[in-house]
Amino acid sequence: MPLTEIRVAGFGGQGVILSAIVLGKACSIYEGKFATMTQNFGPEARGGACSAQLMLSDTPVLYPYVTQPDIMVVMSQEAYVKFASELKEDGTLIIERDLVRVTDLPKQTKIYSVPATRIAEELGKRMVLNIVMVGFFTAVTQLLEADAVRKAVADSVPASFRELNLKAFDRGYEYGVSALAAGPETPDLEQNAAVSQELV
């Protein structure tokens, strides 16, 4: 894997940081490659745009920060507004379908969306939406082995929630497999522009 820059962003409380930890762990511990995760710290304890930066590579990561992400995972409209413009021209954008409306992006951007919150709610716990996103990411990007990420999920969550999180991962992954087969989405930018304001 060449150096891959990833930003994961959402609002505080969605488990943004944990999803980046899971992906970083999968890469560096279970695949024996290299991962560096940094998070943006602000004075707010909760809420607001929250983001993690993840660098994955076959060789040691030097510069720890994202300059132009190859992949961006976005779970809130506020985070989308704040970060989307830094995405590489032909980058991959992965969004929470119900929480993010894509408004203006270069045509080459590959967009994949998943109703992670709804899936998480179907599983009984909204809080596992981040792991649904992780599963979806794994399938769509093909960067990491599903098995490695699954293991990372298992050892990153409390034992009592392990089964639930693994289910969340599997559901997200299955959704991603279909999404990848269907190919990138083409968002209706005009309609999105109209409704995006309500999401911020």
Binding site: S28, A35, T36, M37, G42, P43, Y63, P64, Y65
Partner: protein
């Protein structure tokens, strides 16, 4: 001796630098810490507070950094290996007690996760602005040791080293992290306890009658006793004789302070750790430390791709400063390029040691983020000319 397995979290972890530092301290045998919350360092003691009661030890949150930095020294004289953790404003408050530790030869570790300053500055953002303070912050003449990790793995490995050096030389060791390294999460491999070497306290074996608390046996580092063992020794921050008794004469001052300096300076080459690469035929050597060394590495690779002859010298030990190494390099290169997250601190040492034999270029950065590799590259290109 080998590490006490109770404190060693053997395994492969995905861990940030602050937590890795805490694990390093536990592996090194630290069983006592006194702290005061301050961003971006607090995670170290938060983890310690959680872990140490299950390992056999104690954490106390003190009322301020003045207290924390001396409470830990009480802990050391009570028999524990101890440390405190802070960031810029707290580090400023600890200065008097760094001097006290140097004067009383109290082995201990001060962790400073550097953030932007001066004053409250940038609580959540990085800088490397405390490097000179670490060396010169307390009044009077003294020497300390300072280490600069550049990854969570090194936060673990070098924290152990910091405790070992503190014990070997009976000196306060400054562990100079920065916000990026502290909050960065990477793979950290913690080996089994029997693969971790820890330096035991230089405890005296002498009888009460024969023991001189500040007597030395050639190596300039006195043997230590702990309170409660019957030695009835005296410890003071005043200038003191071998018995530990105050002796405030110019002669004793000369003798004591010279020894405190020389026990470190005479061992500089042994203490110094650095990473050197590609310097043999280099025109320019980039000297860096901490997080900046990783950015510098990228700049060096970019420069080499352009055909420039660039070497790397990463300081792992910042203090005592590896003067001899700089002097040797200065004799055969054109220039040093020194990027640091401050407006010129360690560069002064490089310039001093280079003594005009090679030019010195500072790549300044006031802090708040790290350099862009291109900024460093631009200086390398200029320096080659």
């Amino acid at each position: 001796m080998k590490a006490d397995p109770r404190g060693v979290l053997t395994g492969t972890h995905f861990m940030d630098g602050d937590h890795a530092c805490c694990e390093g301290a536990l592996a090194a045998g630290a069983r006592f810490a006194a702290g005061y919350p301050i961003t971006p360092s607090t995670e170290v003691v938060e983890r310690f507070a959680q872990r140490v009661p299950t390992v056999g030890g104690c954490f106390i949150q003190m009322e301020d950094e003045l207290a924390a930095s001396i409470t830990l020294q009480g802990g050391v004289w009570g028999g524990a290996k101890a440390f405190t953790v802070t960031s810029g404003p707290g580090f400023s408050l600890m200065m008097e007690h760094i001097g006290y530790a140097a004067m009383t030869e109290t082995p201990c570790v001060f962790v400073d996760v550097q953030r932007g300053g001066p004053s409250t500055g940038l609580p959540t953002l990085p800088a490397q602005g405390d490097m000179m303070q670490a060396r010169w912050g307390s009044h009077g003449d003294y020497e300390i040791i300072a280490l600069c990790p550049n990854s969570p793995q090194e936060c673990f490995d070098l924290t152990i080293k910091a405790f070992n050096l503190a014990e070997e030389f009976r000196v306060p060791v400054m562990f100079m992290m920065d916000e990026v390294v502290g909050h960065m999460t990477e793979k950290v491999v913690i080996p089994p306890a029997d693969e971790i070497e820890v330096t035991p306290r230089k405890h005296t074996h002498k009888s009460v009658e024969d023991y001189l608390p500040y007597g030395t046996n050639g190596d300039m580092v006195p043997e230590m006793a702990h309170a409660g063992e019957g030695y009835k020794f005296h410890v003071t921050g005043l200038t003191h004789d071998e018995r530990g008794y105050p002796n405030m004469t110019p002669k004793m001052q000369q003798k004591l302070v010279t020894r405190l300096q020389n026990k470190i300076l005479s061992a500089t080459d042994r203490i110094s750790m650095f990473e050197e690469e590609g310097t043999a035929d280099a025109d320019v050597v980039v000297v860096s430390y901490g997080i900046t060394s990783r950015v510098a590495q990228r700049a060096i690779e970019m420069a080499r791709a352009d055909g420039l002859k660039v070497g790397k010298l990463r300081l792992i030990t910042a203090w005592p400063f590896p003067e001899n190494k700089i002097r040797q390099l200065a004799a055969h290169i054109k220039a040093f390029v020194v990027p640091e997250l401050n407006l010129g601190q360690m560069v002064r040492e490089v310039e001093r040691a280079a003594a005009g034999k090679a030019q010195t270029f500072l790549v300044p950065h006031a802090g708040g983020s790290v350099h862009h590799p291109e900024e460093i590259l631009a200086f390398i290109q200029e320096a080659v000319r």
